[in-house]
Subunit: 437 residues, 2 copies
Amino acid sequence: MASEKPNIGDLVRLYLTDGTVLEGIVMPLTEFSGSDIIVMKLKNGYNIGVSRERVVKVEVIQREAAEIGKVPPPARTEIEGRGEKNITLISTGGTIASKVEYETGAVRPAITASELVEMVPDLRGIAKRLRVVELMRVLSEDMRPTDWAKIAEEILAEIRSGADAVVVAHGTDTMGYTAAAIAFALQELPIPVAFVGSQRSSDRPSTDAVFNLKAATATSLKAPFGESVVVMHGTPSDTYALAHRGVRVRKMHSSRRDAFQSINTRPLAKLSAPDFEIELLTDDYIPRNNDGPSPSIGFDERVALLYTYPGMRCEIIEYIAQEGAKGIVLAGTGLGHIPSYCIPSVKRAVDSGIFIGVTTQTLFGRVNLNVYSNGRRLIKAGAVPLADMLPETAYVKLSWALANFSRERVTEVMLANVVGEISLRHEEDVYPRWYHG
Amino acid sequence: MASEKPNIGDLVRLYLTDGTVLEGIVMPLTEFSGSDIIVMKLKNGYNIGVSRERVVKVEVIQREAAEIGKVPPPARTEIEGRGEKNITLISTGGTIASKVEYETGAVRPAITASELVEMVPDLRGIAKRLRVVELMRVLSEDMRPTDWAKIAEEILAEIRSGADAVVVAHGTDTMGYTAAAIAFALQELPIPVAFVGSQRSSDRPSTDAVFNLKAATATSLKAPFGESVVVMHGTPSDTYALAHRGVRVRKMHSSRRDAFQSINTRPLAKLSAPDFEIELLTDDYIPRNNDGPSPSIGFDERVALLYTYPGMRCEIIEYIAQEGAKGIVLAGTGLGHIPSYCIPSVKRAVDSGIFIGVTTQTLFGRVNLNVYSNGRRLIKAGAVPLADMLPETAYVKLSWALANFSRERVTEVMLANVVGEISLRHEEDVYPRWYHG
């Protein structure tokens, strides 16, 4: 690269090796070393990343043509690679797209999706077209069912426009909920949709973002399953990543890299460093469906999730019901019990048309309301025991079912195994080995 | 034993080998084989169990003196043993004290505490005086903070009257909550208080009740710690039991025998079959205090526990606050985040004098609200991050703190390590080994 040194915000003209001339505003890059891309916002509003090695000459047309603080974040950036695959990375926010506020030391969402790509330079060797969509900047605790729908629409559009891989960067706190939502909204996927996050801010030396991004991309490109999965560290070190079924994964630690774990089932696959080849851990996966996806996007927000506890006031159930809820998922104790003095409140809610599903706060195992008389009373009141479904997955599924099926069909749908979220009979008991000294 | 064969409900006179003569009504025994006790209700209302081998002669004074269906369940039974120890078993209900309703196949609370003792005949070799208190018949999902107080009062009375061991039989669903409640209510214990339950009904061949009762009794008699603990199977088979600190244990499976596991810490001790010798797994225990216990019994019911989720309606927080709650424990996501649009509701609740504590629904790990800006906003709103305390333990502790301390001191108490329920700095990271194929 020769000629005038462009600054961020300058309007420039780039002359490329193949004769192309591009005109646009130079966009910010990150502090990551080794970056050899120039990202420009073109006049059509599109952003494009160009390898510096392809630039013959830079001509600065106007210095400080844009105040960078006022330049809107790039919505879509396309970077050309040297490979064969169309790869899409959708950024939604979260730690993986965050940087530290140096004034306070706190982390806020800030790094753009294109900056994420710089972290994994290998991608440009695999990708023919690397499309980066900065869809939203939402910390995962702030995700709402309407955001799940937006993410589903974007994934659907990318798959329909020929993506060979779709990776979704997401905050880890509620990534399991969103991965489950996509599993229900986009069934019969032709490719795996890989959710990925990081437990350490992307601009910290200890970040797990790069490792996880590599593993997630490999999963979406190569895995034989057509499922919405979460791909994260399998151990605290960079030994292997795991691909977990989105409807079966739960964040089980507040800070460890291997926080995400499959509950009541095996992870789908293991991806070992440094090559991230796929090692399947089960045959029980949903294969890719080249005719897919089959979309049913929509989530009803009038749903609540309630973990029960001794001394719970049943008025909470009555309140949620009166405030217009269409469904409640209870996470009861043990086999799915709730305080028996709350059963009349459940009955009133059910009688008024509200769906009440029962899961267990033990997380592992399955509910069974036929063992004890209080359980039988709960069933008689109209509550529906949801086998071995995670409480969080049941909440997402109920939101989806109420938006996509008539009330009459909701019970049937909640009890059906739609995308591997529920086993109706007892199969392998996958329970961790606990520390017993 | 000679003479007339007594039936249940008969008023009889027993002549014992040592010359004692007892008069009372014969009480029901169970279907357990090998029973060689006669339980009689004496005129003073007390029940007593007598070894048949000590009975020289039985004289039936009146056949069917009591309709057994109308005989109130024994409140206290004392059985003399051949050993040295004063052992108390307090029965509260639950599966361990349940039997199957043959007409429906469901399980209901029914077996009396004295029947439990028959299941562990060894006890009579150890015990000088085996006192069985049938305190209540409450399924554990129906336990309330007022029940925790009753149980605490009973344990205190037994310890003060010289018990060398106190075992509490409890339903498993909420046994962790009650064990935590006792830990706060009765500190500086001179003996371990061992909570025990079973995952299989006591009259089923597969019951784990006998194994667990033996291990719990051994723990309370022999362990060096003065703590409220849960003693249950450590594996699915009868290999060893574990004694878990009550404030750190959680029921993690709906049906497995090894459902109870310590979270964020090691179990205190392992007790291997068949002798149930104590093997300590940590030095970090609270030793027996012969000057104890130090009681502060009392629980405020105006407390709620709320697991957050994406799309949660903040009005639930407002509702709980308006209905007179004095405290709320939130189980947020990840490091303790809640939807940021709910932070104003938290602030209003705090401003009105309600204590709001923050834990994490990941269960493992600790909250840290200083990492992300939303967390810092939550702290600014007045929420108190509760380190690595389990959500359920924080709920119990808050109920206890509000009943025993002025509102001004509650924050300080919630943040203090009272009985090992919280580690304020990061120590050993005890995380299970998950199944990764």
